[in-house]
Symmetry: C3
Subunit: 206 residues, 3 copies
């Protein structure tokens, strides 16, 4: 199995877990769990593939849908064991981001894209699945959570991959670096409050 | 006219009615009615065609847009006659779902897709138009309405089609079975409260 | 540079300004500004290109992303100088609409589309970027703002282009007419309250 396929599987499974957890907060039935899990799991990669004009990855290989459905079933029968579903979503989502960003990078590299496209595909694949999940389920998008790094982690991770590739490092190393930077920043942001200065308006907010 | 084109026309017209009814709740002007009606009417099929990498059905044949616009005009001039627009939306939406799911199935079959893709295209074509309508108009998505079958009806309908096709039945019969199962479950859910067990958390909901 | 490329650049820059201004209301960091600016700036054109099955314009030429990022930086460092960010968004958005609609028209003409598709691509390119911005950022979509022309301006502008082209006028003139009609109607609506009759229900709104 190629590195890209492996990353896609991991990203699909982990994002599907977060989708199903959000579905559990909306008190859906099992089919609703699978539906939201699938949108979350394949949303980012679908946007990536449609924009790059590649065959959509889960149409070419429907096993991805089965993986996402399994994740939905797991959550349906175990989510009541969690103490805080919201905090669990945050942590699993961080993991999902850290595999989805390199998955986006790998797909763009496979298309021999220039580096701005590699960067964007990393960010888009990482962020769009969760964004669709939150928009469909009427949650405030995690992407917009104030005072936490999110898009920034995806951006830094994809940037690390671009730098490593430009330095002539092999693709697997670049992907590992990408995942590590993304995860480290996101976890640091959640655990230790790392952040960038946000925009602060001087006059009262209008 | 092929079965697929016929289903697409019916689905476009009926979904456009629901879109225009939602536009009437948002008190838009006639162009706004046509805009929301068109998004609702062609949204699901557009997602289906883009993902399957087929030419988008209404670009190949702009008559679909005219049909959706006619539906918007009909609603603009008659919606005030309705007693409850919200209940009317629910019932017409059920009808739209029951024609859009077989339309998705028929498109996937025309592409000689494997059965998981047929299933997904049925569900996606059925659910995404209404989902876009509700997201754009800031309504709580019908797809997520608690304690009612929705995605489940689409899934069961598409599943019925897959079973009938696998048993060697001809496509038109499979599509009729698909529509019948979808409509029966949705109407049963609205009228008699049929539902699947939903996820219920044991600890207090967080 | 072709008329289409020029319009695309202008539309990307101006829509990116509105996206970054909305990001400033959500108090994001600079990467968040760039993210929302890019979604707003290229969203409409991306939908247009995917539906028309053309290569997505900013993948073929990543300079568009750089332009959108520059706009995000400009806003990040100057938005505090504005008296009312909301009113500024409204006025810049009007300008963006007036360049995005002819950009959509030009793309459809370049594909030798029939007139209903030209009309739709004008409206979609004009409206979808701002719609994505508002949906992602949890703002009430401008498209739906009661009692103001919005989609109607895009529709009238695209319609003007179609009429001019049908009368045998050259493309640049049709695009200028399109921009002028769109801008005039939108500004007239904001400044002087021009509007179409909206749907008004006789019975109490349900």
């Amino acid at each position: 199995m190629s590195a890209l396929a492996l990353l896609d599987y991991a990203s699909v499974f982990v994002f599907a877990l977060t989708g199903a957890l959000v579905a559990s907060r909306a008190q859906l039935d099992i089919v609703g769990f699978v539906f939201i899990a699938c949108i979350t799991a394949v949303g980012g990669g679908t946007v990536r593939d449609v924009i790059l004009d590649r065959p959509v990855f889960w149409v070419a290989n429907p096993n991805f849908i089965i993986v996402a459905s399994v994740a939905a079933f797991v959550v349906f029968f175990t989510a009541h064991l969690l103490e805080s579903r919201y905090r669990t979503i945050l942590w699993i989502d961080a993991l999902a981001l850290a595999v989805a960003v390199p998955a986006g990078v790998a797909a763009a590299v496979a298309m021999e894209s220039v580096w701005p496209i590699i960067l964007i595909m990393g960010v888009a694949t990482g962020c769009f699945g969760g964004l669709m999940r939150d928009v469909v389920c009427n949650e405030v998008p995690l992407v917009l959570k104030q005072g936490e790094l999110y898009v920034t982690c995806a951006f830094a991770g994809a940037g690390a991959a671009v730098v490593l590739l430009t330095l002539g490092q092999p693709l697997p190393l670049a992907l590992i670096g990408c995942a590590a930077v993304t995860l480290a920043l996101r976890v640091g942001s959640m655990a230790f409050g790392w952040r960038l200065p946000v925009y602060k308006s001087r006059p009262p907010r209008v």
